[in-house]
C-alpha cells in the first residue's frame, strides 16, 4: 500500500470549553478528490487551519507523505506542497493578478529575496505565472488590480495563487462561496481539470456539486469525523441525514 498524501492522527483542538476538533483521523490517498461536508460550525474550516498550521492542535500529528509536519510553520508547509485557499477572498487588492501570481512563483523559486534586478528580468517566473492565469481563463484581465476583478474571477485567482506554489495536496475552503449556482459548476469543472498529481480536499455546501466532483466524501459534525465513504454510501447513510435534517442544534 502506498503512503497517503496527507494524514492526521488524533487531532484535538478546543477554545476554552468549545471543542472544535476531537480525535480527527484523516487519510487522503494520492491523487484523490475528497469533499469535506457538514453543517455550519462542524469544524471544517478549523480542520483546514489545523492542517495548514494556521492553528496549533492541542494534540495529534499531521503527516504529509511520510513526513511529520506538525511542528512546521505555515509557510514551510507550503514549501513542502501543502497548500490551501480561503473561503473569504484573501487576495492582494492593489496587486494585479499577474503580479500576485508572479509573487507566489517567485517565492517558490527562491527569487523573492532578490532586490537588485527588475521583475521583468525574471522571465521564467513571469511566464509561468502567465501560463497559470491562461489556464484559469484569467489572462484577459490579468493586468488589472485584483480589487477591480469580478467576484468570480477573484475566486479563480484564489486557486491560481495556490497553483503557483505547485501543491501536492490542495485544500479548497468553499472555492465557490458566494458564486451564483450556474457559475459554481463552471468553477468546479476548472477544479476537476487540475492535474491528477494534486490530491484535493474541498469544502462545499452544494450537494449536487459534491456528488458530481468528489470521489469520496468526509462528513464532519461537532468537531468529529462522522463518516467517510463514496458518494453512494454517504447518500444512503442515516446518520448523515440526521445531522443535516435536524439532528444537531449547533449553529
Amino acid at each position: 500500500m502506498s503512503v497517503p498524501a496527507l494524514a492526521t492522527r488524533g487531532l484535538d483542538k478546543s477554545f476554552g470549553s468549545l471543542v472544535v476538533a476531537r480525535g480527527v483521523e484523516l487519510t487522503l490517498p494520492q491523487g484523490e478528490r475528497y469533499a469535506l461536508i457538514g453543517p455550519n460550525g462542524a469544524g471544517k474550516t478549523t480542520l483546514i487551519n489545523l492542517i495548514t498550521g494556521m492553528l496549533k492542535p492541542d494534540q495529534g500529528q499531521i503527516f504529509l507523505g511520510d513526513t511529520d509536519i506538525t511542528a512546521l510553520r505555515p509557510e514551510a508547509r507550503v514549501k513542502c506542497g501543502l497548500v490551501r485557499t480561503f473561503q473569504i477572498n484573501t487576495l492582494f487588492p492593489r496587486l494585479s493578478a499577474l503580479e500576485a501570481v508572479t509573487l507566489a512563483v517567485c517565492e517558490r523559486r527562491g527569487y523573492a529575496g532578490n532586490w537588485w534586478r527588475g521583475l521583468p528580468a525574471y522571465g521564467d517566473a513571469v511566464e509561468e505565472a502567465y501560463a497559470i492565469l491562461v489556464s484559469l481563463r484569467l489572462a484577459a484581465s490579468c493586468y488589472r488590480p485584483t480589487r477591480e476583478l469580478a467576484y468570480g474571477q477573484q475566486r479563480l485567482l484564489e486557486i491560481a495563487l495556490a497553483l503557483a506554489t505547485r501543491p501536492r495536496v490542495l485544500l479548497l475552503d468553499e472555492p465557490a462561496a458566494g458564486v451564483p449556482q450556474g457559475e459554481s459548476a463552471e468553477l468546479f469543472s476548472v477544479i476537476s481539470g487540475l492535474s491528477r498529481d494534486i490530491t484535493l480536499l474541498f469544502i462545499e455546501h452544494d450537494m449536487n456539486v459534491v456528488f458530481r466532483f468528489a470521489h469520496r466524501i468526509i462528513v464532519m459534525a461537532a468537531g468529529r469525523i462522522l463518516v467517510e465513504g463514496t458518494p453512494e454510501e454517504i447518500a444512503a447513510d442515516a446518520r448523515v441525514r440526521e445531522v443535516y435534517l435536524g439532528g444537531t442544534r449547533r449553529g
Binding site: 509557510e75 532586490w115 521583475l119 513571469v126
Partner: protein
C-alpha cells in the same frame, strides 16, 4: 535589455517601471536651486537630507506597511556616528558616511528581529519605545554626545579632497543631492524587483503571504535593515554638512515629522517623501519668518486637509487628477 525578446506580460511589467519623462524633468529641476536660489542652498541641502530620510521610511511604511514612530533612531545614530568619527580626527566625509551607514544598518538589523514579530498598534508602541530609549541614552551619555549642548568640535575635511564645506552650502547641497539621487536609484531598483513585489504583498495582505509560502519575517528584517542604512546615511549627511549633531536628531519630534512629511507627499510612491520634504521644509521656512511659535498650527491644518481630501497624499491626489483627465479626454 532588448524589448523585442520580452514576452507580452514581461513587456507590460517593464512598462510599469520604465523612467517617465516627468521623473527626468523632476531630477533636472533639483539643479535649479544652484541657479535660481543660490542664497538658499543650505535649506536645499536640508531638504535633500530630509527627503532621503523620508524615502527610507517609505520603504518600510509605504511598501511593506510597517508603521514606525521611532525612525529617527537610525537617523540620529548615523548622525552621531558620523559626527564622532570626525570629532575624533577622521574628517573624511565619504568613509565617514559609509561607517555611519554600517552602524545604523547594524542597529537596524538587531532591532528588526523585534519589529518583524509585530504589526499595527504593537509596532507603533515598540518603534516609539526604541526611539525614546535611544534618545534618552544619548541624553544621559553627555561625555560622549555632548548631551543637550550637542556634539561640538566636528571638523570635516574637503569632500574628495577638493571641495570645502562652505557657508553658502554649495558643497553641502551638491553632496546631499548626489547621495539622495543614489539612494533614490537604489530604492527604485528595490521596489521594482521581486523583493519589492514581496514587500507590497506583505502590505496588501499579510495573512495570505504564508499561504503562498512566503517567509514574511525574513523580508521584513531585510527591508528594515536597508531602511535603517538609508536613514543613517541621511543623518550622517546632516552631521557632516552642519558640522554639529544635536539631540533632536534622535527625538520623537523628528520621527513624527518624517511620518507627516511622507503622509503629506504620499506613501508608497517613491516620490512622496521627496515632494513632502520640499513642501514641508519650504513652508516651515516661510512660516517661521511670520510667527514661528504657531508653525505647527498650519502643519496640523495641512495634515488634516490632506488626510481628509487626499487620502493618498499630494502625489496620490495628482495621480487621480491625471487619471480623471485621461478618462474625460
Amino acid at each position: 535589455m532588448p524589448s523585442a525578446t520580452l514576452s507580452e506580460p514581461q513587456r507590460h511589467l517593464e512598462a510599469q517601471i520604465r523612467w517617465q519623462p516627468l521623473e527626468i524633468a523632476f531630477w533636472l529641476a533639483t539643479l535649479l536651486p544652484f541657479v535660481l536660489t543660490p542664497n538658499h542652498l543650505v535649506l536645499a541641502s536640508q531638504i535633500a537630507i530630509t527627503a532621503l530620510f523620508a524615502l527610507s521610511l517609505d520603504l518600510i511604511l509605504g511598501y511593506a506597511g510597517i508603521i514606525s514612530l521611532g525612525h529617527a533612531a537610525y537617523f540620529g545614530f548615523g548622525s552621531y556616528t558620523a559626527g564622532l568619527i570626525a570629532k575624533w580626527g577622521w574628517g573624511e566625509p565619504l568613509t565617514g558616511l559609509l561607517i555611519a551607514a554600517a552602524a545604523a544598518g547594524a542597529l537596524g538589523y538587531v532591532t528588526s528581529f523585534i519589529i518583524a514579530r509585530f504589526r499595527h498598534l504593537a509596532l507603533i508602541m515598540i518603534t516609539l519605545g526604541l526611539g525614546l530609549l535611544l534618545a534618552e541614552a544619548a541624553n544621559s551619555a553627555g561625555w560622549l554626545t555632548g548631551g543637550a549642548d550637542g556634539l561640538q568640535g566636528v571638523r570635516m575635511w574637503k569632500l574628495l579632497g577638493l571641495f570645502q564645506f562652505d557657508l553658502y552650502g554649495t558643497t553641502a547641497y551638491t553632496y546631499s543631492l548626489v547621495v539622495l539621487f543614489l539612494g533614490f536609484l537604489l530604492a527604485r531598483r528595490l521596489i521594482n524587483s521581486p523583493f519589492g513585489l514581496a514587500l507590497r504583498g506583505i502590505r496588501e495582505n499579510a495573512v495570505r503571504m504564508p499561504a503562498i509560502g512566503a517567509a514574511s519575517a525574513a523580508h521584513i528584517r531585510k527591508v528594515y535593515t536597508i531602511a535603517a542604512v538609508m536613514a543613517g546615511i541621511a543623518g550622517a549627511l546632516l552631521a557632516q554638512t552642519t558640522e554639529t549633531v544635536s539631540l533632536d536628531t534622535l527625538s520623537f519630534q523628528r520621527s513624527a515629522d518624517v511620518l507627516v512629511i511622507l503622509i503629506l507627499g504620499g506613501a508608497g510612491r517613491l516620490y512622496g517623501g521627496i515632494v513632502g520634504a520640499i513642501i514641508y521644509m519650504v513652508a516651515r521656512d516661510q512660516f517661521s519668518h511670520i510667527n514661528p511659535q504657531y508653525w505647527y498650527f498650519w502643519i496640523g491644518t495641512l495634515l488634516i486637509a490632506v488626510v481628509l481630501f487626499l487620502p493618498n497624499g499630494i502625489l496620490g491626489g495628482m495621480a487621480r487628477l491625471v487619471r480623471l483627465e485621461r478618462r474625460a479626454a
